[in-house]
């Protein structure tokens, strides 16, 4: 049997390579992949330039401040309340020393742009309220954001199925229409094996083409050397599973005798449904059934709370000093207390808004959980999420990073604000203790777990469809 199947494979391969449209389709597909990979690589490079300059900027500022600190004589008067001074916690923590927290692209980032064009990949951390972090954004023409990027994930998720369907819509129908299927059926091989050989050859060809084109694209753009082989292999596994699903769809449509035009129409409909309609409906459902609380309202509430707190500013500051005797500055009150009052007001505003902000975060979390659940509605979504996960451009990594930034921001405030309250000036010993941000990525096993689930989710319908087709093929009417 194996030798028979081997001969069938060789035969199918010869048939495939003799077909001129196959070559045309392959060339177009390969070129699209090359273009997409090139786009992705240049996007990630431009991002790296920005992040490098952002990080260098932070270090440069701290170095400058340290030098400025050294040049201040020991008997100099204390810093002015509003002036820029390397000794003043407010001046350093809010302006001159403010640091950026960055999210560096991972090795596979060129393959899936994900949300990196929309969500800021660096955040400026100051002593100001954490609500200010939510306003950060990168500049971009909104029309560009709306269209999205031409990256490999786009080519694979949207176009790969179309190329598969173009090769697979008339697997049996063409032979049936050509009258050769009856001759095949007269041979001692099952229709399922016949169809299987076609799918194996075509699937192997498309997968090989996609892999080679991706590797060539990376090589041409000089991005191949840095690629971790394990992750790249996982990427190709997801690609294979997604491709297998679409071949299974083609097979199940071929398992019922119909004209090839009817097959093409049905398959185009399935593609449209799973790749275009279901994702749009899923996104709309998440937003309609579980709408985000409004940022607009949050801003209004912030304003109300801040008016209220400002009116009681002096009182609030007195309360801070009353509750925390350790924070009260030694010596007489100075104009620096104006700044202290600002911090006291800000703390109060943050405290008052905490329930609202928490509700906001909780709803965001819920939406992401829902989105992760709704993605199961379409293999296109499952594959897309898995690709973004592997590329490190997905929502989970981003949210993980935002959490780390939030705790970094807290540490930053914890470092500067009590010192500001105490009027404790920064000296050479304080500078090395200023918190620096370093992002420990989420654990690899977490990513592996999610990608593993995606693989199972992609393969399950594939196996079911294939099994159903084998049963169905036994009842296939060969005669036209």
């Amino acid at each position: 049997m194996s030798s028979v199947f081997g001969r069938m494979l060789r035969h199918e391969w010869r048939m495939l390579t003799a077909d001129r449209t196959v070559w045309l389709v392959s060339i177009i597909f390969g070129l699209l992949i090359l273009y997409a990979v090139g786009n992705g690589v240049s996007w990630v490079r431009s991002q790296e330039v920005v992040l490098d300059s952002v990080e260098a900027d932070g270090s440069r500022r701290l170095a400058q401040l340290t030098r400025a600190l050294d040049s201040i004589p020991a008997d100099a008067p204390p810093p002015a309340a509003f002036g820029r001074d390397p000794r003043s916690p407010g001046s350093v923590g809010n302006f001159d020393g403010a640091q950026f927290a960055t999210l560096r692209p991972q090795a596979l980032a060129p393959l899936a742009v994900g949300q990196t064009d929309l969500l800021p990949q660096y955040l400026r951390v100051t002593m100001r309220s954490k609500l200010t972090l939510a306003a950060a954004q990168e500049l971009e023409n909104p029309s560009n954001l709306l269209e999205g990027r031409f990256d490999l994930a786009f080519v694979v998720v949207y176009l790969f199925p179309l190329f598969i369907l173009a090769l697979g819509f008339n697997l049996l129908a063409a032979e049936r229409e050509g009258g050769t299927l009856g001759m095949v059926a007269a041979q001692p091989v099952s229709l399922a094996a016949h169809l299987g050989a076609k799918v194996v050859v075509r699937g192997g060809f498309m997968l090989g083409l996609a892999m080679v084109a991706t590797l060539v694209g990376l090589l041409l753009n000089g991005a191949l050397p840095g690629m971790p082989p394990g992750k790249l292999a996982l990427w190709f596994l997801v690609l294979a599973a997604y491709g297998a699903f679409w071949f299974a769809v083609a097979v199940v449509v071929n398992a019922v005798p119909r004209s090839s035009a009817a097959n093409a129409t049905i398959l185009a409909g399935v593609w449209l449904l799973l790749v275009v309609v279901v994702p749009a409906v899923a996104g709309t459902l998440v937003n309609t059934l579980h709408p985000m609380p409004s940022r607009v309202e949050l801003i209004g509430a912030m304003r109300t709370a801040s008016n209220d707190a400002s009116a009681r500013g002096a009182q609030l500051l007195a309360k801070v000093y009353g509750d925390h005797l350790d924070l009260a500055p030694s010596g007489a009150m100075t104009s620096a207390d104006f700044m202290s009052r600002t911090y006291a007001v800000q703390e109060e505003v943050d405290r008052q808004l905490a329930p609202l902000a928490d509700r906001f975060d909780a709803q965001l979390d819920r939406q992401h959980v829902l989105a992760a659940r709704y993605q199961l509605a379409s293999p296109a979504l499952v594959a897309s999420f898995a690709f973004a996960d592997l590329a490190g451009t997905g929502p989970t990594r981003y949210r993980h990073w935002r959490e780390k930034v939030a705790s970094y921001h807290e540490a930053w405030q914890q470092f500067f604000i009590p010192r500001a309250f105490r009027h404790e000036w920064l000296d050479a010993s304080a500078y090395p203790a200023i918190p620096r941000f370093s992002y420990g990525d989420e654990s690899r096993s977490e990513v592996l777990r999610r990608v593993g689930i995606a693989l199972v989710v992609l393969l399950l319908p594939t196996v079911l469809l294939a099994g159903y087709s084998v049963r169905r093929l036994k009842r296939y009417q060969v005669a036209v």
Partner: protein, 468 residues
């Protein structure tokens, strides 16, 4: 003759099971999209109205304080939803919804709804515009691929031509029949759209926009009907026609827009926020002639002293701080005008370059026109942002003028009061007239017009060459 062909076509299509399923699916999606869009637009509108009122009450109910402190306190501007955004919400998810208007700074609009959304949103939301731009052409293609090729395959084309049907009549009849069948779907959707517009938030003044929007989509469908007919007349078989048309559809609505995005970004790169802020900060220090801000203020002081013919600031009859603050605003306004001007000019160049793609891919032209007419394109955003910035400058100037006029003796101890706060009228914004859309989308209109001429021309040429 044409009438008979049209009736026959409509009847045949309406009886086609595929058409019924597809048409009902598209209609359901269209109606659902309209409903969801209408709800989202109405709630966003109400929310922003309330927020604008709250912001206004925050402003007028400020306690007595120095007018410059009040200018620092500032107000928030909230971007309104346009009445037709329920049809096409365009770039709205990707533009900020609010801007903080305060002294000294032109802040960008922040809080893009999409940034708070899930990764699902990048697959595109279900909008009426999406259904009309993507799904309806697909429906046309599937229905029309066999319109001539199918008759030829079944041998009925020979009969038709043998009884003396003129090929021109056949073409017109076939296309009108397709259009008529499509109307079974589109007329109810349009009625629902009109009803939603009438029931919805203040839709006054949107009538002409709605009519033009309907005309643009009608034109787009005619392009697809004509192209499909031409391809069907030329193609050797229904299958060939279908594959060719599906390929066109895919490149048009899927590949072209994305490819265009990457291309226009390469041609006219968007600066990063960091670079943008850095350049702006540098220009705040010194202008292009090398004159520093300090020099500018010194020159301004000399000019004021000579204008009032006095020797020192103390001798001025007005509060110099107010004048100097006003001068500082004018200095920074020039910086903002230059920088935001440059940034927005980059966006406009990108959008204009994208519009060139419309001549090759009608989807690109229709999308831009649809967003323009719905008031949800970048040009409308820029118009609103500019109005908000003008309001900011006005508000800050009123505060600084008051400080200059009254703060002479008390200096920064001088307090403004409720009367001063309410003397600044609330921020009102009118969506521009429809002429504004036409002025900015000439290229897209030309592209769609070109496609109409080309499509109908191809259809007529195809009709003349119909052979058995």
């Amino acid at each position: 003759m044409i009438g008979a062909i049209v009736r026959k076509e409509i009847r045949e299509i309406a009886r086609d099971g595929r058409f019924r399923v597809a048409a009902i699916t598209v209609l359901v999606l269209l109606v659902a999209a309209l409903a969801v869009g209408w709800r989202a637009a109405a709630s966003a509108h109400a929310e922003r109205d309330a927020a604008a009122n709250l912001a206004r009450s925050h402003w007028v109910n400020q306690p007595a304080k120095n007018p410059h402190s009040a200018a620092h306190y500032g107000v928030y501007a909230f971007k309104p939803k346009t009445p037709l955004s329920f049809v096409d919400d365009g770039v709205d998810p990707y533009t900020g919804v609010l801007a903080y208007l305060e002294a000294h700074v032109q802040n960008d609009f922040t809080h893009r709804p999409a940034a708070d959304g899930t990764a699902l949103s990048r697959f595109g939301a279900l909008t009426a515009a999406g259904v009309l731009q993507v799904l309806v052409p697909l429906l046309i293609v599937v229905l029309a691929a066999g319109t001539i090729a199918g008759e030829r395959e079944q041998g009925t084309l020979r009969q038709l031509l043998s009884v003396g049907v003129r090929s021109r009549d056949l073409a017109i009849g076939k296309m009108l029949g397709l259009g008529g069948a499509l109307m079974l779907l589109l007329i109810p959707a349009t009625i629902i759209g009109v009803a939603a517009l009438l029931v919805g938030t203040d839709g006054s003044g949107s009538g002409s926009r709605f009519l033009l929007l309907a005309a643009v989509y009608l034109g787009y469908f005619i392009v697809w009907i004509a192209l499909s007919f031409a391809v069907s007349a030329w193609a050797p078989s229904t299958r060939a026609a279908l594959i060719c048309l599906l390929g066109l559809w895919m490149v048009n609505s899927l590949l072209a827009p994305r490819a265009a995005t990457d291309l226009v970004r390469r041609l006219h790169p968007t600066p990063t926020a960091l670079e943008f802020q850095r350049v702006m900060a540098a220009e705040q220090q010194a202008d292009s002639t090398g004159r520093t801000y300090a020099q500018y203020q010194e020159a301004f002081q000399r000019e004021v002293l000579s204008r009032y013919r006095v020797d020192s600031v103390a001798d001025l009859p007005v509060n110099f701080a107010g004048l100097s603050l006003d001068a500082s605003e004018r200095w920074s306004d020039a910086v903002f005008d230059r920088n935001y001007g440059r940034l927005w000019a980059t966006y406009v160049r990108q959008d204009q370059a994208r519009s060139l793609f419309g001549f090759a891919f009608p989807f690109v032209a229709v999308r831009a026109l649809s967003q323009g007419l719905a008031g949800t394109d970048f040009y409308h955003h820029r118009e609103f942002a500019t109005a908000a910035e003008q309001y900011r400058r006005h508000l800050v100037r009123v505060m600084n003028d008051d400080l200059a006029e009254h703060g002479k003796t008390a200096g920064f101890q001088y307090m403004g009061d409720h009367a001063l706060w309410s003397s600044v009228e609330p921020f009102e914004y009118q969506t521009p007239e429809v002429g504004f859309v036409m002025a900015h989308h000439g290229r897209d209109l030309a592209a769609l017009g070109g496609w109409l001429v080309l499509g109908l021309g191809l259809a007529l040429v195809g009709a003349r060459r119909v052979r058995v």
